[in-house]
């Protein structure tokens, strides 16, 4: 860790103008998403004769991860939403070479004194505010859906996918992940994929920024129950806003082990809040399609975690735990969504 701290200090010294005596302190790795190594640190320096400090989060590409994504896309999403009604940490520096820390990484300001862990949110002081947290969660998701990706600078109009076929692109992508990474046959996921292809959804009502992993566990909540930051944009892309809504209400995230989606709100309430904030309607047949798709996508991610361990690309027990803990539960969610659970 000492060597890593020294290397980060050299990098930060280059990024902050006129900074001297840059030191990295309290560097610690945290569980901040399995797709990148995440570190929390405090950097101290002297600037214009006075002592300064900043608390930062550094996200570095790992050797192995659940999701192979472009860190620049994730970084641009933080840039696009920073300062809007969608709370995100301030993105500071993106480094795409391996020159400084062997692998690409980016740095953000730390949003302090918050909690993200779903298990912690079910305990005091958050437990009595779950409804309020849920209301914010789906209101913010509605605001992401309402945002114009062209106006945010994330794409040009010509780069938007076709509203009629964005489902096909997403399904094809995650089916390919299963094809490449499965360690054993997946009859439930394959059955779901066939159903999805036989019953395509209506065209997207609009094309928007899809967070890609919007769930309890990927946002920061302060002790006053205010959501201060939406995190983990590594799977962000442009597409149908129902994709995010469906992902957010998947039963696999029912952390309270009851019917409250995300462990926070009733499904109906979450959808109603999202509809009001987005100005869109969650048409039931299309939402059901995206809910089943969400289970296929989740299965693909859990399958990939098993592949990483099996091929010795990663030694992270979190990936082994994911591969044992979630695929069968996800299959059961798939069966429930298909109406095949009894």
């Amino acid at each position: 860790m000492e060597e890593l701290a020294a290397r980060i200090a050299r990098y930060v010294g280059r990024c902050i103008p006129d900074a001297d005596e840059v030191e990295v302190k309290e560097l610690e790795r945290i569980h901040g998403g399995a797709s990148r190594e995440t570190y929390r640190l405090r950097v101290t320096f002297r600037q214009a004769g006075s002592s300064q400090q900043r608390r930062l989060i550094l996200r570095r590409d790992p050797a192995g991860s659940l999701i192979e994504t472009d860190r620049a896309t994730e970084y641009r999403a933080y840039q696009a939403f920073y300062g809007t009604s969608v709370p995100v940490p301030e993105p500071l520096w993106l480094e795409e070479s391996g020159e400084w820390l062997e692998r690409p990484f980016f740095v953000m300001e730390e949003i302090q004194n918050c909690e993200a862990s779903p298990a912690a949110l079910l305990l005091p002081p958050y437990a009595e505010h779950l409804e309020r947290i849920g209301e914010q969660k789906w209101r913010i998701l509605g605001e992401i859906a309402a945002a114009d990706p062209v106006a945010l600078g994330l794409c040009t109009t010509s780069q938007l996918p076709a509203a009629e076929s964005c489902w096909e692109r997403e399904l094809g992508h995650w089916e390919q992940v299963i094809d490449e990474d499965e360690l054993c046959p997946q009859p439930i996921a394959r059955g779901a994929i066939r159903w999805l292809r036989r019953n395509p959804p209506a065209a997207a009502a609009k094309l928007c920024v899809v967070h890609g992993d919007y769930r309890t566990g990927n946002f920061l909540v302060a002790a006053d129950a205010e959501i201060r930051g939406i995190l983990d944009w590594e799977m962000t892309h442009l597409g149908d806003p129902l994709e995010d809504l469906a992902w957010s209400i998947n039963r696999i995230w029912c952390w309270a082990r009851d019917d409250r989606v995300g462990g926070l709100l009733s499904r109906e309430r979450a959808i109603a809040i999202w509809e009001e904030a987005s100005g869109l309607r969650a048409e039931p047949a299309a939402l059901r399609w995206w809910e089943l798709f969400a289970s296929v996508k989740a299965s693909a991610i859990w399958i990939s975690s098993g592949r990483e361990i099996s091929d010795a690309k990663s030694k992270d027990p979190v990936l082994a735990f994911t591969a044992w803990w979630l695929p069968n539960a996800q299959d059961r969610v798939t069966l429930e969504t298909l109406g095949r659970f009894s």
Binding site: E28, R29, I30, H31, C184, P185, Q186, P187, I188, R190, G191, R194, R251, I252, C254, W255, R257, D316, P317, V318, A320, F321, W324, W325, L326, N328, A329, D331, R332, V333, L335, L338, R340, F341
Partner: protein, 148 residues
């Protein structure tokens, strides 16, 4: 091996979770130790049932294949169904049962896709039977710490 393997795994899990993890100063190391303890808990659960659940599932899939022979007319698929009916040998190592299970489930996927395209009551009944077996397969694999 005595004490039984599942008892020892349980002991290791509890030691890691309740004795060692709380003493680790580094937060990342502590949560990694806790996750490792939970993996040991899952391994404890799987230890005793691992062979039986594969044996049961392979028999259940073969029963479906026997039923399917009365429904499926496609020669290549019929041939694969017939070839899959006989258990390969008396090897009951988990790795051998798993290989057999994988082969059976590959044929099951093809059968399932084919039956979905067929019309008639017998095809629907077989399709329902396949989905019921797939649900049962998730019950066999369920671990107590799973979220659903």
């Amino acid at each position: 091996m005595k004490p039984d393997v599942d008892r020892v795994l349980q002991l290791l899990s509890e030691t890691l979770m309740f004795d060692l993890a709380p003493k680790l100063q580094d937060g990342y190391a502590q949560s990694t130790a806790q996750i490792t303890a939970m993996l040991l808990t899952a391994a404890t659960e799987e230890w005793d049932r691992g062979a039986q659940r594969r044996f049961d599932e392979n028999a259940a899939i073969r029963a479906l294949f026997r039923e399917a022979l009365g429904v499926v007319g496609k020669p290549a698929l019929r041939s694969d169904l017939e070839a899959s009916l006989k258990p390969s040998d008396a090897n009951i190592r988990i790795s051998a049962l798993e290989r057999e299970n994988n082969e059976l489930r590959r044929v099951l996927i093809r059968l399932h896709a084919h039956v979905e395209e067929l019309e008639g009551e017998a095809a629907r009944s077989l399709e329902d039977g396949i989905w019921a077996e797939l649900l049962e397969s998730t019950v066999r694999r369920k671990i107590s710490i799973a979220p659903f």
